[in-house]
Symmetry: C2
Subunit: 522 residues, 2 copies
């Protein structure tokens, strides 16, 4: 399909006069840079005279970085890239997907090299949105429309909305893109692969048939809108949410606030099974139960029961739970498909500390990527916006020829159910300190917060917190962990205090006190 | 006066059976340990065999500590202390003042050496309280009674309430104490001097005469109670608050919420003159003005005008401001008096990184102490509860023979006026990044927060924040500064995100983005 047939390129042409490096259409661009990605990661040609990339500096940190930090060294052989530019063109970076990772990759590629041509291809028809806000919209606190945000298209960045990438060929560094009616071929020098992940629906009887009718997964704004519309249409009064991770718990809370009788069904033995210990999870369960939610843990979903095409119940742990609506929050699967067989994949796309895949010039970031954990050193899939953002920054800078190092994932998350929060960061160990404290003093109306700090020797390596403002406590711990802090720091770092908002001896310092007392008695 | 005549000692005797080291009364204790403080800091005898202090470990951090961290080394010559204990007695630690510093010193002296005899002498008749909560009680949000808290007297700790230390002799290591009707002499091996600071009333005409009638300073619970009582008695409708630091601003807000017409009069050119830059202070001023408070900056108080013994106005910057009540929030002066001439004093008591004064065995902590700033390296008086707490911990551990290092003051403070907060940490420099961002997303109802980050090279050395949840942002910055973080960390440390409570790109990471963009373009 000729390039002129799709909106993005037309738009781009219309703006030619404004772009400092209007080297031509997307297709033409390919001819200037097509050879560049081919050599693979092995090539090691030095930078060429006359190529003058902006003097990029390091992003990252001294803890985990092992690269040369003294300006744009050609660690992975950026010679090709520069040759391409010497030829009069600019680096062409394809950003596949405008989620959190793609957004930050596009932004930071432009920051790192304002001359780079950045093409963002996004399947959805609206620029960016906040998936994490969908539970708030389901609750009715905000409108679905308010979750959609503009994406400021500046400089050499072009955005193709309503376009899906249907294939990627890393040998020729080309992608085929469709807007539903016509197809386009894009070439690129660099790829930031950020298609995110897709909800996974376990193959229980009835689920497939109910999907999209009375059974929903939640990933984009429309999913939430459809759910609410269906609740209203059907006059639903009972909902079953399957999976008690952050999304399942938040949606359960939201539906309960809408007045539905909610069953929250979880296969494992507790809510937040991946991120909270049983003792910590039990506080969340108590909170959800107090809000009328039936929390059923250790309870695998067995069947979705339909009557005349309409859901009437689910069967779980041997019991029949009458229900009008089912929401599946049973996890996601990384969208690796387009690169399968072309780069190293293990559930997600494996990347190094530059967010580069096993192919030079091909970066991955966000829910699709498998990255190194900052503390455990293991390769993990974090699948959180907080991680996607930072991975996007690094991928974007490096895609533009910069030299940024990803400091590793901590898995810092928080989940709010009204004023009650569950949050965690880092890893769990056998050595922990738990405290029931206050973020705001009890005498000033503060409510109980539980904090559990995980240690490795004296080093703080993880934390879980539950209760009002739990996430603010976790943010502080994450900052400390990020910088390699010990329990001494938990107590001794000088934190603010004002009883209108905070306690003098915060949960973190109180936990530090316990750890230090143990240390003194050793 | 014989020891038996005062409550604390009787109490102590009554409990003898429960104390593992009931070495006798406070006075007798002196005879066992009286020689110990005399040698001064120069003595350097090693630890003695047979003396077995608990193996105390280090408290502090690698950044600023220069001491031997391998267990209870006798850096300042703890030989005396141990000899004393070898003789069958225990270390006797006098904690002078049960404010924040004294409380934590007593607690941590006990933690460090459960056998130590700890005597806490406090002038007030109730154990501990939260001075920082007084503005909330003035506002009427909490009762004055709720500001008073118990002090758990455990183990070898004795508390003499309603007792004032009237003199201290460091040569003989004795203190004279009165309960108003009788006097007592206490001897001690170690002193933690924590009498805090006293409000300072500038010597303008009329102020002295009005003090305690229609003019108030606020330091203890009774001060707040008296103020509120007088407002009601007098049917006051107009108040003038002098001094626009945290206490002045909080009390202005509180009085305005009580329905009074408030003038806030500040000599310097802005509110929070010591802790906020003019641009940041202006946001606070706008907030206070929007709440009906007349903020008059650059306006020194000239006179308190009385009529028939009752305040009718103040005169400030040439103007007459009719008023019924005056609150002086014009700063405090360290209570150095009792040690003047005995230890090094410069506005406050100078201490080293062990919180030890120029006299061995004599420690000072809290509002009375002059300590090293963690970033600037200068000697400063912080006069905040957040600093007093940590200083108390270090002083307490060291007084008990442990080896703790104070990591230095950051001056981290926050001040809440309703949901609006002003907060800061660290130092100011000429190199800063300012951002108007959101703690909670705007589309989810979040309000604007301003954050200003101060840099030295790439290192974060200070921050100011203003707006809802400003203090939570400052706490994170304080944690990062404490651990020597750079602007890279501001963006890259993986923070939690959940739009019900937080933004994905928080003010701190947004400021980090600006700083990094500048860095990339260098
Ligand atoms: C309901 C919900 C609540 C959540 N709450 C939180 C939370 O509170 N905190 C948190 O940190 N995380 C939360 N998350 C997770 C967070 O949203 C994701 O981790 C984050 O969005 C991942 O970013 P990403 O860019 O990798 O993927 P995505 O945001 O999924 O973006 C991928 C984009 O790529 C597009 N795309 C995919 N394939 C193609 C293709 N072939 N062609 C063109 N475009 C394509 C998609 O349309 C999509 O826009 C939540 C997720 C959901 C669904
Ligand atoms: C209204 C107000 C609001 C504040 N708000 C905040 C805030 O929000 N955040 C913050 O960090 N800080 C705040 N502060 C400051 C904070 O209260 C002090 O920094 C802190 O209390 C200092 O602790 P300290 O132990 O050194 O002194 P203090 O708390 O003053 O304790 C000293 C104690 O020693 C006793 N004492 C003194 N001399 C003798 C003697 N000779 N014999 C026996 N006892 C004696 C006193 O009675 C007193 O109890 C506020 C202060 C006030 C007054």
């Amino acid at each position: 399909m000729a390039e002129g047939h799709q909106g993005g390129v037309q738009d781009h042409r219309g703006r030619q006069g404004h772009r400092p490096h209007a080297g031509g259409g997307l297709r033409r661009a390919r001819h200037q840079g097509a050879q560049q990605g081919r050599e693979g990661k092995g090539s090691d040609e030095g930078p060429q005279e006359g190529a003058h990339p902006p003097p990029l500096r390091v992003l990252g940190d001294p803890l985990h970085s092992s690269v040369d930090h003294n300006g744009g060294g050609a660690r992975h052989g950026h010679g090709d890239l520069r040759r391409g530019r010497q030829g009069g063109g600019c680096v062409r970076i394809l950003v596949l997907g405008l989620g959190t990772a793609g957004l930050y990759a596009a932004k930071w590629a432009r920051n790192a090299d304002p001359r780079a041509e950045i093409v963002v291809v996004e399947r959805r028809t609206y620029p960016t949105f906040s998936p994490c806000g969908i539970p708030l919209a389901i609750e009715g606190l905000v409108s679905f429309e308010s979750l959609k945000h503009p994406f400021p298209v500046r400089g050499n960045t072009r955005l193709l909305l309503g376009h899906e990438v249907v294939s990627v060929d890393l040998d020729s560094m080309r992608a085929r893109v469709t807007d539903g009616s016509s197809e386009l071929e894009l070439s690129f020098d660099r790829l930031v692969f950020a298609p995110g992940a897709e909800p996974f629906v376990p193959p229980v009887p009835g689920a497939g048939e109910a999907l999209g009718k009375d059974l929903f997964t939640i990933r984009v704004v429309e999913d939430g809108e459809r759910l609410v519309r269906r609740i209203e249409e059907k006059g639903a009064t009972r909902a079953t949410v399957v999976g008690a991770g952050p999304i399942g718990c938040e949606i359960s809370y939201a539906l309960a606030r809408r007045g539905l009788k909610v069953h929250l069904v979880e296969m494992l033995d507790r809510v937040f099974p991946r991120s909270l210990d049983p003792d910590m999870a039990s506080h969340v369960e108590a909170y959800l139960r107090a809000r009328g939610i039936e929390v059923r843990t250790g309870c695998p979903l067995e069947e979705v029961v339909l009557d005349d095409g309409s859901v009437v119940a689910v069967r779980a742990c041997g019991e029949r739970i009458p229900t009008d609506i089912v929401v599946m929050a049973t996890g996601v699967r990384a969208c690796t498909g387009l690169l399968e067989g072309q780069v190293d994949v293990d559930k997600g796309i494996l990347v190094d500390e530059r967010m580069e895949t096993s192919r030079e010039g091909v970066f991955a970031a966000g829910d699709v990527a498998v990255v190194r954990h900052r503390i455990s050193g293991e390769m993990v899939m974090v699948q959180l916006a907080s991680a996607a953002m930072r991975q996007g920054v690094v991928a974007g800078i490096n895609a533009a020829g910069g030299d940024a190092t990803y400091s590793g994932a901590l898995g810092t998350f928080s989940s709010a159910m009204g004023a009650f929060e569950a949050a965690a960061t880092g890893i769990r160990t056998g050595k922990s300190v738990k405290i029931a404290g206050f973020y705001k003093p009890e005498w000033a109306g503060g409510e109980r917060v539980w904090l559990k700090l995980f240690l490795e020797g004296d080093r703080i390596v993880g934390a879980q917190a539950v209760g009002p403002r739990a996430s603010a406590e976790i943010d502080v711990v994450a900052a400390l962990i990020h910088r390699g802090a010990t329990v001494d720091d938990a107590l001794m770092f000088e934190r603010s205090y004002c009883p209108g908002v905070s306690e003098l001896n915060m949960p973190l310092s109180a936990a530090g006190e316990i750890a230090l007392r143990r240390k003194l008695r050793r």
